[in-house]
């Protein structure tokens, strides 16, 4: 019999918290030491009493009052802040609108369309303000197939009336949702003062 008692190790041994060699050593000692056997028996008893005394007094049935109280508080708190999904959709819409405006301004600058009437004496010819191009947004909806990418094809026109640079402007936006693509097509009429017309040539 080993002479060193294992009283200090019993609180860990009782629930299997020692490593295998230590467990085996404690068990070998316990087999021959009545004093440690008695301490182990007391520890086993107190652990059993602990588990018995600390059995929860709650009904295992669903805790409807607790759940109702918590859900009432949560619902009262939630409407004050918008749902994250709504925020994302609003941000996406704002980004699309801003992109469209920027794209339209860039296109207008490239075609030298004045954004405001020039100051000073009135021009000899009335400046025709470009009418806003019709905006078609083929948006995909749930349950419908997403629209295929639309490539801008200029309508065939006589060479004299439609110079090559007069292709319609096409701006495509791919949203975060792969099923939604925003395509914007625009074409302007040539202004009388910026481009020679057929009548001028003749």
């Amino acid at each position: 019999m080993t002479t060193t008692h294992v009283l200090d190790q019993l609180p860990l041994w009782i629930e299997g918290d020692l490593k295998s060699p230590e467990m085996a050593a404690v068990e070998a000692h316990l087999a021959e030491c009545p004093r440690c056997q008695e301490a182990a028996a007391q520890l086993r008893t107190s652990q059993g009493w602990l588990r018995e005394a600390l059995a929860p007094p709650f009904d295992p049935a669903p805790q409807h009052p607790l759940r109702r109280r918590v859900m009432d508080r949560i619902r009262a708190e939630t409407p004050t802040k918008p749902a994250p999904g709504l925020v994302r959709r609003s941000a996406l819409l704002a980004a699309c609108t801003a992109s469209l405006l920027i794209g339209f301004n860039l296109w207008r600058q490239s075609h030298r369309i004045p954004s405001v009437l020039p100051l000073g004496p009135a021009p000899p010819e009335a400046v025709e303000q470009p009418t806003g191009p019709a905006l078609h947004l083929p948006l995909a909806t749930h349950g419908h197939p997403a629209p295929r990418a639309i490539r801008a094809r200029p309508a065939p026109r006589p060479e004299a009336q439609a110079p090559p640079q007069d292709k319609p402007a096409c701006i495509e936006f791919q949203t975060a949702d792969p099923s939604i693509r925003i395509i914007w097509l625009a074409q302007s009429k040539p202004q009388p003062g910026t481009r020679p017309s057929l009548e001028d040539k003749s």
């Binding site: 520890l43 107190s46 652990q47 600390l54 929860p56 607790l66 949560i74 619902r75 749902a83 999904g85």
Partner: protein, 210 residues
């Protein structure tokens, strides 16, 4: 793992590689709540509230205080669910919050008063025991709860999670944010104190009957 790898590793005396953690069954609910839905939170509570109530009652020793702790726990969980890292075990995160709430409430309340719980838990026993046995059992349960209540807060939480909630030492260490060796030390000390309390109790009882 290739066929036979397990046997080869065992022959070589090597440990098996840890298996990939199973997906948390509560994760779909958590994703929906984080996306802005409120109703799935009720389902989340239905899955976990029994454990949280039991844990709070074991730490606090009072039924009404345990219900308050559970309510505060779930409100904190809802408000901070966006900080939960998906892929981790939700229940461990929930228990960590519950233990913190219980510690806060225990600090506010001060030293734990020992409550003699009503006999509601003994209704089943009463039919088969005589009055003396029932009284002795009730007394013993109350005094063991008193022994638990007298433990330092950290030891009580470690003992409850390890011996009563059934978590491993490593899990308890993760939940409480300490090293496993600290948990071993705390549960060993707590078990010894409860045992010593029970031993004194038996000696103090007339005839040593409890």
């Amino acid at each position: 793992m290739f066929p036979g790898t397990e046997a080869l590793l065992m022959e070589a005396g090597l440990n098996l590689p840890p298996a990939a953690p199973a997906p948390d069954p509560l994760e779909p609910l958590i994703r929906r709540i984080r996306a802005g839905e409120v109703e799935p939170f009720e389902e989340l509570m239905a899955h976990t509230e029994a454990r949280i109530l039991a844990l709070a009652w074991r730490i606090l020793g009072d039924r009404h205080l345990a219900e308050d702790a559970a309510q505060e726990t779930y409100l904190r969980v809802f408000r901070s669910l966006h900080t939960f890292r998906l892929g981790e075990r939700f229940e461990a995160w929930l228990i960590r919050i519950a233990v913190n709430v219980c510690n806060d409430l225990a600090r506010k309340r001060g030293p734990l008063p020992v409550r003699m719980e009503t006999l509601e838990a003994l209704e089943g026993d009463a039919a088969i025991m005589n009055a003396e046995e029932t009284a002795l059992l009730q007394q013993r349960r109350a005094l063991v709860r008193q022994a638990l209540a007298q433990l330092p807060q950290a030891e009580r939480a470690a003992l409850v999670l390890r011996d009563l909630e059934g978590h491993s030492t490593e899990e308890v260490a993760r939940i409480l944010g300490v090293r496993p060796v600290t948990i071993r030390s705390q549960v060993a000390s707590a078990r010894s104190k409860v045992q010593a309390f029970c031993a004194r109790l038996i000696q103090a009882t007339p005839g040593g009957r409890l």
